[in-house]
């Protein structure tokens, strides 16, 4: 009897047995929960997406690299919504990182005014909810531009009003494709020259100005071929008509308002990430660089930032993913992102459950792509990527 009891006890105390038991339990419960959810969803809907092939019947106002109208399928309109989300995410992330770098460094600056300004910016924004901030940026800033008939002139070639911000834009003509190819080749040559000069500089110690030479080379080929090929790009200058501008690059107030709000809002969080990462680099590193005679700028650029980058990347990825998710507030200010378009599709087709699942899966994919961009294996060769340590 005693042996059986101790035998049982020994099995029960075996770490592997325990782990296996709890893992099996977790998997079973999770699987049952997921099955339950799927079953519930199936009760309300057949989860068939065939209706997405029907004619959309409504157009998307703002479009980023797409061109769909009401006669296209619902898939096409939904895709236009996805592209709008991607557009706002790309520009929003770039601006947010820029704002965050400046504000984050400024907050650590020895300049009292810069540090205070950055402090107020970061604290004011981080302690405000996003939705009212977006509506504020739209109604109180962008919509306060004059109406179209009183358009402000931008140095005589562009216009700003609450109808759009219209700027001159390079319109491709015949031969633009060939010229783009030439520019691409020029870029490849310039990068090759840059790498070669850099290696020469490192091996011989002779300064060879890789930046100036490669950039100059690229500019010379690009402009030279531009004129030789008969100017394949033509300036398209916007003109005012009754309800809208004709031609040029037009940024809608909804895009500008959302971009402004997302860039400022996420910029404040990025500023804190930057500050934390810089402070994680030991003081001695910077003092050593100063002792070697590095300028303030070079201390930052060559010593502190490369090390801070390592601490910065994972939280930065999280912040960019947050930006994509936050961009769903677009619906509040009529920007047709994937949430807005998806909402209209739901109203129109009545297929709420399949569309909500589709929208969530779309956001999931977008955010996984961001995760790969920020923390994927491409960073390993820079020795930047932090390893996830298992506990």
């Amino acid at each position: 009897m005693a042996t059986i009891a101790s035998q049982t006890l020994r099995v029960a105390r075996d770490l592997r047995v325990r782990r296996a038991t709890f893992e099996a339990l977790t998997v079973t419960i999770t699987a049952m929960f997921i099955l339950y959810l799927v079953q519930q969803a199936r009760q309300a809907s057949d989860l068939d997406l065939a209706f997405m092939g029907d004619r959309a019947g409504f157009a998307v106002g703002d479009q980023f690299l797409t061109n769909v109208d009401g006669n296209d399928s619902r898939w096409a309109v939904y895709f236009a919504g996805i592209m709008n989300t991607i557009g706002i995410a790309v520009f929003g992330t770039a601006l947010a990182i820029l704002i965050g770098l400046v504000a984050g460094i400024a907050r650590l600056s020895s300049n009292w005014l810069a540090a205070r300004l950055a402090f107020f910016f970061v604290e004011a924004i981080r302690n405000t909810p996003l939705l009212p901030f977006v509506v504020f940026c739209y109604t109180a800033i962008v919509l306060q531009l004059p109406p179209i008939r009183d358009s402000l002139s931008i140095v005589g070639v562009g216009f700003a009003s609450n109808r759009a911000i219209a700027l001159p834009w390079a319109q491709p003509t015949d031969g633009a494709g060939m010229w783009a190819l030439v520019v691409f080749i020029a870029l490849a040559i310039a990068i090759g020259v840059f790498a070669a000069l850099r290696r020469y500089e490192e091996t011989t110690g002779q300064p060879s100005r890789p930046w100036r030479v490669s950039v100059g080379l690229f500019a010379a080929i690009a402009t030279g071929s531009f004129f030789l090929m008969g100017q394949p790009l033509r300036w398209d200058v916007p003109e005012v008509s009754r309800f809208a501008y004709d031609g040029g690059l037009q940024l809608s107030p909804e895009f500008v308002g959302l971009l402004l709000a997302l860039a400022l809002f996420n910029g404040a969080f990025v500023a804190e990430i930057v500050r934390g990462a810089i402070q994680s680099v030991p003081r001695g590193e910077r003092e050593a660089a100063a002792a070697l005679g590095f300028s303030q700028w070079d201390q930052m650029r060559l010593v502190v930032l490369p090390q801070a980058l390592r601490a910065m990347l994972p939280p930065l990825a999280t912040q960019c993913q947050a930006l994509v998710k936050y961009s769903a507030v677009a619906i509040a200010i009529a920007f047709p992102d994937l949430m807005t378009v998806g909402g209209t599709l739901i109203n129109q087709s009545g297929e709420a459950i399949p569309l909500f699942i589709l929208m969530m899966v779309t956001y999931l994919i977008l955010n996984l792509v961001i995760a790969i961009i920020f923390t994927g294996p491409q960073w390993r060769r820079f020795n930047l990527r932090p390893r996830t340590r298992r506990i």
Binding site: F58, G61, L143, N162, R242, F243, A332, A334, P336
Partner: protein, 327 residues
């Protein structure tokens, strides 16, 4: 009282009529400052209670949301749904419900600034049109504009407040919604930015939105009663019977039709259509609630939607309000 069956009997036994309504649409169904329900739809509920019990106040209003309204009716939580609900084929056919006589013919309209000099949809070529997210409004707009070859840019908001801000800032040239809703918005347009007079609702109507009461489709007798109370109010409007002159009309009916409507004996016999309620029920309806025109004047005219020349005028005046004969 005649013997009743089905829903009518259920209502009688309960002693109170339960009506599903809107509680936040000014003019149609909303809660007044004193906490009671008021509006155009609400009065048809009162009329039905007056017809059944002879007392318009024996009624209980249940505020139902857009999404829950049909299931509340199917589940028997309410006896009739009178909540600015558009009668469409798919709703009628697929939901085991049946729609009654439309009480109000609404339609999607377009509102513009008076100063812009826009007089029809054709003047809106290239314009920006603001709308709320919602299925029919956006679809109708697309179909109509596409049909006329007029280009437009839609700007779709999820809240009326933001939409109004954008319209005030002249971000959009036109505002589209159901005409009754536009009228309510126009009436409340802030004075500091020009007030109601600065806005015009274009005469064109982009869609048909007949608002009708809804009942379950398992009780045709109940559906008949609901319909004939509404039709009685329309007939009273046509025959000139109002809450003011009711007593005089009962005393000396000017025509046999009026006599039959009000249950006044003609040559010793009273007309009884066996609808399950008292033959004199229309007297209670008109005394306590009024005829169709009176209800319209009370609730819809103050919104700035005149009746003349619209679909809601009597057929004699070129509208669609028409009651089959009472005989």
């Amino acid at each position: 009282m005649p013997e009743a069956t089905g829903t009518l009997r259920l209502v009688r036994d309960r002693g109170v009529l339960r009506v599903g309504v809107n509680d936040q649409l000014p003019g149609f169904g909303f809660i007044r400052p004193d906490g009671t329900f008021g509006g155009f739809d609400i009065d048809f509920g009162h009329a039905l209670a007056a017809a059944i019990f002879g007392d318009a106040t024996r009624i209980e209003f249940v505020a139902v949301s857009t999404s829950a309204r049909f299931s509340a009716l199917s589940a028997g939580e309410i006896d009739v749904l009178i909540r600015n609900t558009t009668w469409t084929l798919s709703r009628d056919a697929s939901l085991n419900l049946t729609f009654g006589v439309p009480t109000f013919y609404d339609g999607q309209g377009i509102m513009v600034r008076a100063a812009d000099g826009i007089e029809s949809i054709e003047d809106l070529d290239g314009a920006v049109v603001c709308a709320l997210t919602g299925t029919t409004t956006q679809m109708n707009q697309d179909d109509r504009f596409a049909g006329t070859g007029v280009r437009y840019q839609a700007l779709v908001f999820d809240r009326n407040e933001t939409l109004q801000e954008a319209f005030i800032a002249e971000r959009c040239d036109a505002w589209t919604s159901d005409k009754s809703q536009l009228a309510a918005r126009r009436a409340a347009f802030p004075q500091r930015v020009g007030g109601p007079e600065s806005l015009v609702i274009l005469p064109e109507t982009l869609s048909k939105e007949p608002l009708a009461p809804v009942v379950r489709d398992d009780d045709p007798a109940w559906a008949d009663l609901v319909n004939w109370v509404i039709l009685g109010m329309i007939a009273a409007d046509e025959l000139g019977v109002t809450s003011e002159n009711l007593d005089a009309m009962v005393e000396a009916p000017p025509s046999q039709e009026v006599a039959r409507l009000l249950g006044v004996p003609v040559q010793g016999t009273v007309f009884d259509a066996r609808t399950g309620v008292s033959v004199e029920h229309m007297r209670d309806v008109i005394r306590q609630v009024g005829n169709y025109g009176e209800v319209y004047e009370r609730h819809v005219t103050p919104l700035g939607i005149p009746r003349e020349g619209t679909l809601n005028a009597l057929w004699l005046d070129g509208g669609l309000m028409y009651a089959p004969p009472f005989r």
